[in-house]
Symmetry: C2
Subunit: 251 residues, 2 copies
């Protein structure tokens, strides 16, 4: 089976000279292609923090939206990077291909200096990027709004993202006895941080509403850690086990 012509743009050079590599990278940046450069290089970053990386073999990706990624043979995360909206540049310095990426606000600069270039490729890519994702906190919220009794019998949601001086409450409502209820949602097992978050909202609501009005705080998540459970008890907060999808909590 032979691949048919498909209109996808592609330009590749194996083991190019540094000059050829520079020209191809520079052209690809200009034409809005996605570029990969693989070779032995050093990397320097200066900006929100600063870092240096000694010689090693890596894959550098330059995206047309201005993002830059330096990947080694290990790890899901790039060892160095630059966020979108940066300006990329390819140049020769001391006979080496040097790729630089820069932005302001904040001032950040990435420099990759190649001592050997294994391959340079430029791809003209287009993507609709219509990702459909399920199992998020949003799904959990909708599930509760559809079936409020999942929280408890008589629970009535009154607002989502209700503002307080401490931040927005995921779901604000009332229980069967018309007590105010703040619900904090998490799509996965939670630790102490989520308890602190809920506690801040409850405190803020108790200040906001009349001081004599009781405010219940309910954490909704598949499960909680021991420490979080203890913190909930200390603060008089409650926990309701629930998953975004309706599956069992697999902790």
């Amino acid at each position: 089976m032979t691949a048919v012509e498909d209109g996808l743009r592609l330009e590749t050079r194996e083991r190019p000279s540094h000059g050829t590599a520079r020209d191809l990278v520079a052209e690809a940046i200009d034409t809005g292609a996605l570029v990969t450069v693989v070779g032995r290089c050093t990397v320097d970053y200066e900006g929100r923090a600063s870092s240096t990386l000694g010689p090693g073999e890596r894959l550098v990706m330059l995206k047309p939206d201005g993002a830059a990624l330096v990947h080694t043979d290990e790890g899901q995360q790039p060892v160095n990077w630059q966020p979108p909206d940066c300006d990329h540049e390819a140049r020769l310095a001391d006979g080496h291909l040097v790729v630089e990426s820069h932005r302001e606000t904040p001032e950040e600069h990435l420099r990759v200096d190649f001592e050997a270039v294994l391959e340079v490729s430029a791809y003209g890519l287009t993507d609709e990027r219509d990702l459909s994702l399920e199992g998020t906190e949003e799904d959990l919220r909708q599930r509760i709004l559809d079936e409020p009794h999942l929280i408890e019998e008589g629970f009535v949601p009154l607002a989502t993202e209700r503002g307080t001086p401490a931040g927005a409450v995921d779901i604000y409502g009332e229980d069967a006895e018309e007590r105010a209820v703040a619900v904090e949602l998490k799509r996965r097992r939670v630790g102490p941080d989520a308890v602190g978050q809920l506690g801040r909202y409850v405190d803020a609501l108790e200040r906001d509403l009349h001081a004599d009005r009781e405010v219940r705080g309910i954490l909704v998540a598949p499960s909680v850690t021991d420490r979080a459970s203890r913190l909930l008890a200390e603060r008089g907060l409650e926990f309701v086990p629930l998953t975004p999808t309706g599956g069992t909590a697999d902790d």
Copy 2:
């Protein structure tokens, strides 16, 4: 200028047949090479959540440590991925190259189905990966341990990462009047979450120590947001502006 032979392994096919692509990807996985496959594809993920991605042109990277990345032409983050320690597999299905990546604990599966393959490359990469990074929270901690007066005159650090029922305090110490002090460090401007964190530690320490002993809580960061500042005041906590590097706080 011509690149010299450098021992770096490289295997590339432009617009290969799906069968050729499958063979090359499978061999590269076996030999521990880093693989890139560029082409038009759909992506399905099922695991901690689930997602589907319709047809589009993307770059798929398979790392020898088991990580997988699907990158579009936009964004610093991959649109889909799989963490390290997954098992990669390349197969033909309905004449299409299909790349799959799987792991257990948790059960997660990624499937990329190519309808067109623009290029397949396999790179044999090695990397020492000796990244040196400055400007981290660790740097801020060391700066304070070296010069405790940066917190205030008379401050004495007694422990780092001191355990409490609510978590570990970054720096625990005493002030000039021998009051207990909990210090929470952040390398950058902080919001309400950091105040909640510090508050939990202070509460826990006040329970741990004798109830009559006052515990001061000090947040150390380049700057704070308005809301965080208000929360600090409400809880009787303090703020000391300080950067990891000693530079000025650029908020």
